[in-house]
């Protein structure tokens, strides 16, 4: 796949379709991939990589990139195309300045998950069928691929590209991966259990803003949490309330806009399952207001900017589920 992508990139650069390429650059180790912009075939040959660890969603970079001179080539995985569509819909990117090549993704690996197995000193990672072969300075290790699979890929919603100018490989389908399983599990807990669960999780938050800054829905010119006039400006959570507030407001602000790309959880240095908050909103929206997938198109009305006269009342929250 990497070869096909590289040759496509070089071709589009050469024929002048685009003047730069946004993709991924290989790092020091097997897994530390950095999103990067490439401007020449030489740069691409030297550093471009597309492998099992290129999970970063590059669509957010297009907010800035698409406003620059010339056209930018973006290689987007299916999930990334949802993000781009949503950004297009909200006029945050200039779609006409982006040449999208859809690329397939059969799920990405998460180095943290490998390390969590106690495997350290990693020097190489290789897939062998369902087994992952990991070479380390302490010797060879193996583990099932599924266990190293990034959480966001384990609950993939779609292998289908919703926007592209060109595709490499076959397009996939929207899939059903029980992504609301964990949300349901929480819903079935008692209120106290849920409280304890979230207190444990959110108390880990160090307010590094990685979730916000990586989120393709969080592209505000000036985030309310950075704005002294917003009344909620806040740099570090002083107590449990502020930990909760940040995540509630963030989730609310992206409600109906979140494409469920899973980047927030991926980047969280404290491994807080932040995507569950967003998924809770998605699940609620689906069940209360009809199926809605943000980013699936560029024209539909976001559920929170829409209504029907016979929407359910807010009291539904009191009526359903266990206490």
């Amino acid at each position: 796949m990497q070869e096909a992508i590289i040759s496509k990139a070089k071709q589009l650069l050469a024929d002048g379709t685009v003047n730069r390429v946004i993709g991924w650059k290989k790092g020091e180790f097997a897994y530390d991939i950095t999103p990067a912009i490439f401007e020449s075939a030489e740069e691409i040959d030297a550093d471009f990589v597309y492998d099992d660890f290129t999970s970063a969603n590059v669509s957010k970079y297009l907010v800035k990139e698409s406003k620059k001179e010339g056209k930018v080539l973006a290689f987007l995985k299916p999930c990334d195309t949802y993000s781009l569509n949503q950004l297009t819909k909200e006029h945050r990117v200039k779609r006409e300045n982006i040449y999208v090549v859809g690329i397939p993704s059969d799920g990405k690996l998460d180095a943290e998950k490998i390390k969590a197995k106690g495997i350290t000193g990693i020097t190489g990672v290789e897939k062998d069928g369902d087994t992952l072969k990991i070479s380390t300075i302490y010797g060879e290790e193996t583990m099932p691929v599924a266990e190293a699979m990034s959480n966001k890929c384990l609950s993939c919603k779609s292998k289908k590209h919703v926007t592209y100018d060109e595709l490499i490989g076959e397009d996939g389908e929207v899939i059903d991966s029980n992504r609301f399983g964990m949300v349901e599990e929480l819903e079935n807990m008692t209120s106290q259990e849920r409280y304890d669960f979230w207190r444990n999780e959110l108390s880990k938050c160090i307010r590094c803003n990685a979730c916000r800054n990586v989120c393709p829905a969080c592209t505000c010119e000036n985030c309310v949490f950075d704005n002294p006039d917003s009344g909620v400006q806040n740099k570090a959570a002083a107590d449990s309330f502020e930990e909760n507030m940040f995540h509630i407001i963030r989730a609310f602000h992206v409600a109906g806009r979140c494409t469920d790309c899973g980047e927030c959880s991926r980047v969280c240095p404290q491994n807080i399952p932040l995507h569950l908050l967003n998924r809770k909103f998605i699940k609620d929206i689906n069940s209360l207001y009809g199926e809605y997938q943000a980013g699936a198109d560029t024209t539909s009305r976001a559920p929170l900017n829409d209504y029907t006269q016979d929407d359910c009342e807010a009291s539904i929250v009191h009526e359903r589920g266990v206490e």
């Binding site: 949300v183 929480l186 819903e187 209120s191 106290q192 259990e193 849920r194 409280y195 304890d196 669960f197 979230w198 207190r199 309310v224 917003s230 009344g231 909620v232 002083a238 107590d239 449990s240 309330f241 502020e242 909760n244 507030m245 509630i248 407001i249 989730a251 609310f252 409600a255 908050l277 809770k280 909103f281 609620d284 929206i285 209360l288 207001y289 559920p303 929170l304 900017n305 829409d306 209504y307 029907t308 006269q309 929407d311 359910c312 009342e313 807010a314 009291s315 539904i316 929250v317 009191h318 589920g321 206490e323």
Partner: protein, 148 residues
Amino acid sequence: MQVNENKEFQPLIVAFCCNWCSYAGADLSGTNRLNYPTNVKIIRVPCSCRVNPMFILRAFQKGADGVILCGCHPGDCHYTSGNYFTRRRMTLLFSMLDFLGIERDRTRVEWVSAAEGAKFAATMNEFTEAVKKLGPNRRLEDLRCRKQ
């Protein structure tokens, strides 16, 4: 939160009322001398759709034990559609608070028309009782703001 002499817990309730229906409804319950507890403090907003989730969180942060939002009945919004947006926003917000394990009965949306003075008073009585039962807000509290 206030504790009076017989030490019964007195919750602090913040009520956001839309100017056209619910605030007028509250006025009517006053005109008709229909009692409801002093715990309830009303903030007037032009429309229930003006209420930002941030205001609700802020109220809890600063010491409210319950927050209620009142607006025109669906279909009667002075601004034609404001309360429909309110309904969706608050449904989702309350659901999220519930998801985080915050007591459901601390938040409520109620539609009260300008003619429903009695309903306003009854709602406030009911809501205050419900919050009283829950006790002080601890799960969504900012410790720094707790009164010594």
